[in-house]
């Protein structure tokens, strides 16, 4: 039974993937117009591979989290038709062919652990569940931290994430320092997929993943304690710091949309004439109309309320409900927020964490 298979280069891995393409939808990261995107394998040409390799090799998550593969920005629930006064509903059929997402970073895949806690508990979000079970995650591991990374602080193992099907290790990250690419199955789903790949000519067959080299465990990092932070937050509800942040905040949705653990959505109907669809799409608690009520009342009228709510959810409410802090330390907020507000700056403000 396959544990690890080795490809002598990224392109040979891709050739192998192409052979199994008919049974899977495979998505990989690359660059388009200089911006990191995930594209279906078919659209990835030879000259994209360089970019793809860069993304896999850099110890920083790709621009946009792979959350959207299991929890799309917008997806249709059901369709409906109206005949006179009778309505006809039909559930929107889900994609059957299994999906393979290559290139997620440990922090990204770990985030699914948290979303599971919300979506897979009763009542189960079947749309998420189906995708979750139908998706194979090939995680590109890190051998050190990027400029914005807080994975260690938030207890994410950047070398061996708990949630994953297959780990992707680049030769250059290892003691070998070669161009090879190693795929190591860490789940049953992963193993089955690797077997399929193994049959393909490109693979060099069985092997063991060489040891990673690099700043694998940061010594000076204290792992953040959810309980401690939760308690600190308890006393900060009326603190002026939220107003301070709010004064800088643009009120856009970048932090929530790029955060791999944020999972709020809105449900809408779109209909013309006698037919239409009900669909859900991401929503952001940073938007003023997120908490707007039918009567026009808004329980979180100001930016201050909203920004406070967001960080209380991450650092307090979620701990109470599920246990962990709702953050995997991917650092996307730090990277993308136009006003420089991030989980890091907040932790710093509330006096937690050395690095930040």
């Amino acid at each position: 039974m396959t544990q690890t298979i080795k490809f002598d280069s990224l392109s040979s891995l891709f050739n192998a993937l192409k052979e199994v393409e008919k049974d899977y939808q495979i998505f990989c990261p690359t660059k388009q117009d200089g911006t990191e995107v995930f594209l279906p394998l078919v659209e990835i040409k030879e000259d994209n591979l360089k970019a793809t390799y860069e993304i896999l090799s850099k110890n920083e998550p790709p621009l946009f989290s792979i959350k959207s593969f299991l929890f799309p920005n917008s997806e249709i629930y059901l369709k409906f038709k109206r005949e006179k006064d009778s309505y006809e509903f039909s559930v929107h059929s889900q994609e059957e062919t299994p999906t393979v997402v290559l290139g997620g970073k440990p922090c990204d895949v770990e985030s699914f652990g948290m979303i599971d806690m919300v979506f897979l508990q009763e009542p189960v979000d079947t749309f998420y569940q189906q995708k979750r079970e139908n998706t194979i995650l090939i995680t590109s591991v890190c051998n050190q931290k990027g400029p914005n990374c807080l994975c260690d602080e938030f207890g994410v193992d950047k070398c061996k994430p708990k949630v994953s099907d297959i780990l992707l290790v680049l030769g250059e990250q290892t003691t070998q320092k070669d161009e090879a690419v190693y795929l190591e199955a860490v789940s049953e789903r992963g193993e089955n997929f690797l077997e399929k790949l193994d049959k393909s000519t490109e693979s060099e067959g069985e092997s063991n993943t060489p040891n990673l080299e690099g700043e694998i465990h940061q010594k000076d990092v204290e792992k953040l304690s959810p309980e401690k932070i939760k308690d600190i937050m308890e006393n900060l509800y009326d603190s002026p710091i939220w107003a301070e942040f709010a004064m800088r905040c643009l009120g856009c949705g970048i932090c929530t949309y790029y955060c791999p653990t944020c999972h709020c959505y809105d449900i809408n109907d779109f209909h013309r004439k006698d037919k239409g669809v009900r669909y859900r799409s991401w929503d952001s608690c940073m938007f003023s109309n997120f908490s707007n009520m039918a009567g026009g009342h808004n329980p979180r009228p100001s930016k201050e309320d909203r920004i406070k709510n967001r960080f209380f959810h991450k650092l307090n409410y979620f701990v109470k409900q599920q246990g962990p802090l709702a953050c995997v330390g991917c650092g996307r907020c730090a990277k993308n927020c136009p006003a420089g507000i991030s989980i890091g700056t907040v932790l710093k403000k509330i006096g937690v964490g050395k690095h930040v």
Binding site: I76, F270, R272, G276, V277, Y279
Partner: protein, 144 residues
């Protein structure tokens, strides 16, 4: 090439005082033109919001027409001057984004120009038949 079997969907925003009246006169004169046009009555072409035009395209219109009084003849003196500026801008933006500007027709048709109304509709209809269905700006969920 003309797609004969294809019947374009045209939504026309017509100024109540000129082009709408012109369409009425075309009726009174029994002038025949294509059935594909649906007229939305507005008090003045300047009332038309850009949002409405795009909405029409979203909903699957193959062509949108905005018709007002001839410059200088506006029932409200200056309305169509504003329409003119807005539409010039919208058209250029739309073409800059590659979204077939020729699907947006802006026309000055007075209340007496029944024939001009008829001719405008028919030639626009033919032009759209040549262009074929509009699928660049259409919200796909309309077909679901």
């Amino acid at each position: 090439m003309m797609q004969q079997n294809f019947e374009p969907k045209i939504i026309a925003f017509c100024c109540n005082w000129c082009s709408y009246a012109g369409a009425d006169l075309a009726g009174t004169g029994r002038l025949k033109y294509s059935e594909n046009i649906r007229i939305v009555r507005v008090p003045c072409s300047s009332r038309v919001e850009v949002q409405m035009i795009l909405r029409a395209f979203q909903n699957g219109a193959d062509g949108v027409m905005v018709a007002g009084c001839h410059p200088g003849d506006c029932h409200y003196d200056t309305g169509n001057y504003h329409t003119r500026r807005r539409m010039v801008l919208l058209k250029s933006l739309v073409s800059f984004m590659g979204m077939d500007p020729e699907r947006l027709l802006v026309k000055w048709i007075s209340g007496n120009e029944a024939a001009r109304f008829q001719e405008t509709v028919d030639s626009f209809n033919d032009q759209l038949k040549k262009l074929g269905p509009s699928n660049k700006v259409r919200d796909q969920r309309c077909e679901i």
